[in-house]
């Protein structure tokens, strides 16, 4: 048995668990997030949110409270500092308090769950984070979603769909949501809740009431599994990432909700044909894919669009650079094609 497996480069650069969890907890209205650790950890994350949230038209900065551990707390234990911080935060007008631990707290062994489990006037929810101890950024997202899901209760199913794990630090987060809503509307399905984006604690009962959960991407499968076990809700593992994937998505959601997708598919296919016709002018050219994020889904969506427009994709650096980014649905592909047109006509 190998006790010391070599970490993969991906696990090393997977980002901070704490930041991932905060990207969820800061989206719960009226909630405060306590970062149990030195002030620097809270500052790093506050500065990051400060830099990214305005891009998503969110002018209000999240409440991040640091337990501000100093050298003495590190030596003698930080539980008193955490208790003091929770007491102070609970005395404010907050609906929920999330407690997120940091690397150093996991190392010194503070019993965060025990402190959170005391009798507090508002729900105090510990989220297992602890920086690299907790895993990656995505693990932080998943842990926070699961911790929050445990605060929900099963409810009678109603005809709606829940959106799970939107990437709150993503630049196009709301546009991607709008596209999924458009597709669901074709099937006559409303959204129950966005778990978690601008979530009010009053919305929580809807978590267990959806016919199906739609995960933002497959990295959230552990969350989907947890929701299925807790509420019996099946899930679709990802937002659609290309033209044919969008049609498959409509079929999958329709099947899960026992709806006939025929009409929705006809409308969507007509829209896709119209878009491809609009971009016929960039067909019959040679291009090379470029972009900082070249995941499988994005590459597949780009290749499919290029093929549909008869664009020859090569590795020739002299060819037109065709920017590729993660796209959602037919609208996402259309935006990508606008960028291609700009590049081709540049």
């Amino acid at each position: 048995m190998n006790l010391r497996p070599s970490p993969t480069p991906i696990s090393r650069s997977g980002g901070c668990t704490l930041t991932g969890a905060l990207s969820v907890t800061t989206q719960v209205r009226g909630a405060a997030s306590i970062i149990h650790g030195p002030k620097g950890c809270a500052h790093h994350n506050f500065s990051l949110f400060h830099a990214t949230l305005p891009d998503n038209d969110q002018a209000v900065l999240p409440d991040l409270v640091s337990s501000a551990l100093g050298e003495c707390d590190i030596i003698f234990g930080g539980e008193d500092a955490l208790t003091r911080t929770i007491r102070s935060v609970c005395s404010r007008d907050v609906s929920t308090v999330f407690v997120l631990s940091t690397c150093i707290v996991a190392t010194i062994g503070d019993d965060v769950e025990a402190v959170c489990g005391r009798d507090w006037p508002v729900p105090v929810i510990p989220v297992p984070t602890a920086g690299f101890f907790g895993g990656t950024f995505q693990d932080g997202v998943n842990n926070a979603l699961i911790a929050l899901a445990d605060a929900g209760a099963p409810a009678p199913t109603r005809p709606c769909v829940n959106i799970i794990g939107e990437k709150n630090l993503e630049y196009e987060v709301d546009e991607n949501y709008t596209e999924v809503v458009r597709l669901l509307t074709l099937l006559g399905l409303p959204v129950g809740i966005r778990f978690v984006r601008h979530l009010s604690p009053d919305d929580m009962p809807a978590l267990g009431a959806a016919q199906v959960s739609i995960l933002r991407d497959p990295s959230l499968v552990p969350v989907g599994d947890h929701l299925r076990e807790r509420f019996g809700t099946p899930y679709i593992p990802s937002f659609p990432t290309g033209l044919s994937d969008t049609l498959a998505f409509i079929r999958s959601v329709a099947a899960a909700c026992r709806i006939d997708p025929k009409r929705a598919l006809e409308i969507e296919q007509a829209l896709q044909a119209e878009i491809l016709a609009d971009f016929a002018d960039i067909g019959d050219t040679e291009g090379v894919f470029c972009g900082p994020v070249m995941d499988t889904g994005s590459s597949r969506a780009a290749r499919e669009a290029a093929d549909a427009l008869h664009i020859r994709v090569s590795s020739n650096r002299e060819a037109h650079p065709l920017p590729v980014h993660p796209v959602v649905g037919t609208s996402g592909v259309r935006r990508m094609l606008h960028r291609w047109r700009r590049a081709i006509h540049a």
């Binding site: 497996p5 980002g15 950890c41 500065s47 900065l61 409270v65 337990s67 501000a68 690299f132």
Partner: protein, 376 residues
């Protein structure tokens, strides 16, 4: 230490990185998790390396991982500096011995040990700068990659020293590493919050009064120099600034101001505003602890506290970082403190020197004129 809402100032680890990454010939390694690496990297815009340690390295030891990273950096001719973050700092590993063959500079500067100035000072002290009587010219200190004005400050002070025919010796901390071993015996500063303590300090360069005194001292120390062009330009600058501020005061009342900054920039801003505009400096929220300012001042560590102070003192103008900008309401704002997010900054503008005061005052006047508001 009491809890802190939305902390405004980076930790000691970031300060150490800001110091060391300023030197050419140093490869800086952040020994810690990816989260601790990414923040200084995005903030300082400097090449940093990381060990990106994971759980098993905390449990079983990080020697192998450190060797892997350091091994990849050796052979470049650069001195390798390893900055420990919170977790490695308490693991008790003898990193110096582990890496003995690489002559590593080990900077024990975990986040819990203090703020950015603590780490900066510690890293610089470990470099053990030496003065050399044979070194020509004067050192410049107070240059810190964290400071949004460091490039402009350096450019401006170089310009003024050239005007006075005084060579620049070592720049702390933006120079070749080898020059720290042969610094000049005299130093002038650009930002006292990041002073080097190297050589005899001849004074700062923030604000016209300080700048004049410093160049008069430089003139006395460097017999071959001619500081008169600098002093002449300084007088012209003051004259022009007074003229423009007088014009402003014919139309507007002096602004009331609340300032959030390190002590050095805060004092400069307060004195300049009082001197040129008869401004009412209502409060200074200091990012760092020590200060002997003759203005109402206290240390402010969190955003909520800053917001309350702005509301209580209700100034016309807020100076600070983009954190304070987000809570300033409809008041005029000028950014002098990092971070300054959400604005494009390409030109290296200074706060130090003659052009620093000119830039600062023109920005203040424009901000005040662009944001007229009715007092309640």
């Amino acid at each position: 230490m009491p809890e802190c809402d939305n902390p405004l100032w980076p930790c000691a680890m970031t300060g150490a990185a800001a110091c060391l990454a300023g030197f050419e010939g140093v490869s800086v390694v952040i020994h810690g998790s990816s989260g601790c690496y990414y923040y200084p990297t995005t903030l300082l815009h400097a090449p940093l390396h990381g060990t990106f340690i994971l759980e098993n390295e905390v449990i079983f030891g990080s020697e192998e991982r450190l060797r892997e990273v350091i091994g990849g950096l050796s052979g470049t001719g650069n001195r390798i500096a390893v900055i420990t973050t919170c977790v490695p700092a308490i693991l008790g590993e003898d990193i110096q011995s582990m890496l003995a063959e690489h002559d590593v500079l080990l900077v024990d500067s975990p986040g819990f040990s203090g703020d950015v100035e603590t780490g900066y000072t510690k890293a610089l002290s470990l470099l053990a700068p030496q003065t050399d009587a044979a070194a020509e010219g004067v050192n410049i200190d107070g240059i810190c990659l964290l400071d949004p004005f460091y490039k402009g400050n350096l450019q401006e002070i170089r310009r003024l020293l050239a005007l006075a025919s005084i060579p620049v010796a070592t720049v702390f901390c933006r120079d070749a590493l080898k020059k720290t071993g042969a610094a000049a015996t005299c130093t002038i500063g650009t930002n006292a919050d990041f002073s080097s303590g190297v050589g005899k300090y001849l004074g700062g360069s923030l604000g016209s009064g300080t700048l004049r005194a410093t160049f008069e001292r430089l003139g006395a120390v460097f017999e071959e120099s001619d500081t008169s062009p600098v002093l002449r330009e300084l007088s012209l600058m003051e004259e022009e600034t007074v003229r423009v501020c007088d014009k402003f005061l014919r139309r507007f009342d002096p602004p009331s101001v609340v300032i959030f900054a390190g002590a050095s920039y805060a004092e400069f801003a307060a004195e300049a505003l009082e001197h040129f505009l008869d401004a009412d400096v209502r409060f200074i929220g200091l990012r760092n602890q020590d200060s002997t300012l003759h203005y109402p001042a206290a240390r402010v560590t969190g955003l909520k506290e800053a917001q309350q102070l702005i509301e209580v003192h209700n100034p016309d103008l807020v100076l600070g970082s983009s954190f304070e900008r987000s809570v300033r309401g409809n008041r005029a704002f000028l950014g002098i403190t990092p971070p300054l997010r959400g604005v494009v900054r390409l030109a290296p503008v200074p706060l130090a020197g003659i052009n620093g005061t000119l830039f600062f005052m023109e920005q203040v006047l424009n901000a005040c004129m662009d944001h007229p508001r009715t007092q309640p």
